[in-house]
């Protein structure tokens, strides 16, 4: 019988030893990173995410840390002057700013905001706390929000509170809207692609994307690998403070940064239709 030949042929199939060693190394690296999310090991295989972001987006992403470093040199001085002009209500004195600035510079020297790895460092910042090691502009904003009455300070603080509140969480309860407070202004780069394939599009209309994401409500958690069927759309969202979130959209199912959730079918369908529209007619790239 032919089935015996079929069974014996498959009995001889085995993966290469080099493949096993490589897979084991990647599994260990992933385990280590999940056990210690603050570790600086960037060798864990997240290649599909990197490949998904087009070159233009990477350039734009790199521009943020550079701008942040420039602002670092300017903002403490200008903010101090602004607070002083506002009536001198600030309890922050010049010495406090002097203390803040070198700390942030030190972080930049450590590589947190270097051109090469700023996006990879960003999620660590989000876990540590929105203000502890966030972008240098955010370093000054919360401190000023307590004691400074000037409008720019208050606006900056509000913006960071809205964005940080969304991204600090890694798990969401049933009925919760993970992006309920997301505003278009919180996004610096957004892209969408088909799962696995490299067909991708940059998103330029953040208003529509934010509105669609605002409506997404999750239900209970689900297995991100087994509870959905078919190919999904992958939204990669880079926020103004450099942190990044990946949202995979399937029929009635979402995977947010690797965590799966059953979700309202209608909102998922709306996001899928939006992704399909962009991918079929990608907007002109800058």
């Amino acid at each position: 019988m032919y089935k015996d030949d079929y069974v014996s042929a498959f009995g001889k199939l085995a993966p290469r030893e080099a493949w096993k060693a490589d897979t084991l190394a990647k599994m260990r690296a992933l385990e280590a990173r999940r056990a210690d999310p603050f570790a600086s090991d960037a060798a864990v295989p997240e290649a599909p995410d990197r490949r998904a972001v087009p070159f233009a987006a990477r350039v734009r992403r790199a521009a943020l840390p550079v701008a942040a470093l420039v602002m670092l040199a300017i903002l403490p001085v200008t903010t101090l002057r602004g607070c002083g002009a506002g009536g001198g209500n600030s309890s922050m004195n010049a010495a406090a700013y002097d203390g803040a600035a070198p700390q942030t510079v030190l972080e930049a020297d450590n590589g947190s905001y270097s051109l090469a790895d700023a996006p990879e460092a960003a999620p660590h910042d989000a876990v540590v706390g929105a203000y502890d090691t966030a972008a240098p502009a955010g370093e000054a904003a919360p401190r000023n929000a307590v004691s400074c009455d000037s409008a720019p300070c208050a606006a900056a603080a509000e913006s960071f509170a809205g964005a940080g509140g969304t991204r600090e969480k890694s798990e969401f309860a049933s009925g919760e809207k993970p992006f309920g407070t997301l505003a278009a202004a919180d996004l610096s780069v957004a892209s969408v692609r088909f799962e696995i394939s490299d067909q991708a599009a940059l998103i330029e209309d953040y208003e529509e994307l934010a509105a669609l994401l605002n409506d997404v409500a999750v239900c209970e958690q689900g297995d991100p690998d087994a509870e959905h069927d078919g190919e999904g759309f992958v939204f990669t969202l880079t926020f103004t403070d450099g942190t990044q979130t990946e949202v995979r959209v399937y029929p009635a199912f979402l995977v947010i940064d690797g965590a799966g959730y059953r979700a309202e079918a209608e909102a998922c369908d709306a996001l899928s239709r939006y992704a399909l529209r962009l991918l079929e007619a990608p907007p002109a790239r800058p």
Partner: protein, 163 residues
């Protein structure tokens, strides 16, 4: 015979299921390089998901289900490599002429038939178990199995299985 315990470490699960996951992927994608990519992705998914299993059978079924899902996604992508054949994929493995011809014949079947044939004959699952694993009605599995056997009978000029 006592049932094997659930794996507790990356080494253990890789050692126990590497060949199973790899050959399941190979049966579906018919290409060694793609099968290795998919199998690696499955094991990384295991680390990410950290599922809790009731038994070793549950564990194996989860891995095979994730493999099947990954293969489905693979077939929707534009990054499929060219199918080369058993002898080219495994040049160091001595296959008999009968083995090569029967695997080639199975590889010419549509993907949905190949996965059912693989799960039924290689993994030894019953049709009800295959239905649960793939999330399809048992009658669909039975009809796919019957059609696959009929196609193989024509291709091989003989019965694949005399059940």
């Amino acid at each position: 015979m006592a049932e094997a315990a659930v794996c507790t470490s990356a080494e253990e699960i890789l050692e126990r299921y590497a060949a199973t996951v790899f050959s399941a992927a190979y049966a579906m994608v018919k290409n060694r390089a793609d099968a290795e990519d998919i199998a690696q992705d499955v094991f990384l998914s295991y680390v990410r998901a950290k599922p809790v299993f009731e038994s070793a059978a549950h564990e194996k079924a989860w891995l095979l289900r994730v493999t099947a899902n990954r293969c489905k996604s693979f077939f929707r992508s534009a990054w499929q490599r060219k199918t080369t054949g058993l002898a080219e994929d495994f040049p160091d493995t001595p296959f008999t002429a009968a083995e090569t011809s029967v695997v080639d014949a199975v590889n010419r079947l549509p993907q949905k038939y190949r996965q059912v044939i693989y799960l039924y004959y290689i993994e030894g699952y019953a049709t009800g178990e295959i239905a649960a694993l793939l999330g399809m009605p048992q009658n669909t599995v039975l009809s796919q199995l019957a059609r696959a056997r009929r196609l193989l009978k024509t291709a091989l000029k003989g019965e694949f299985d005399d059940v």
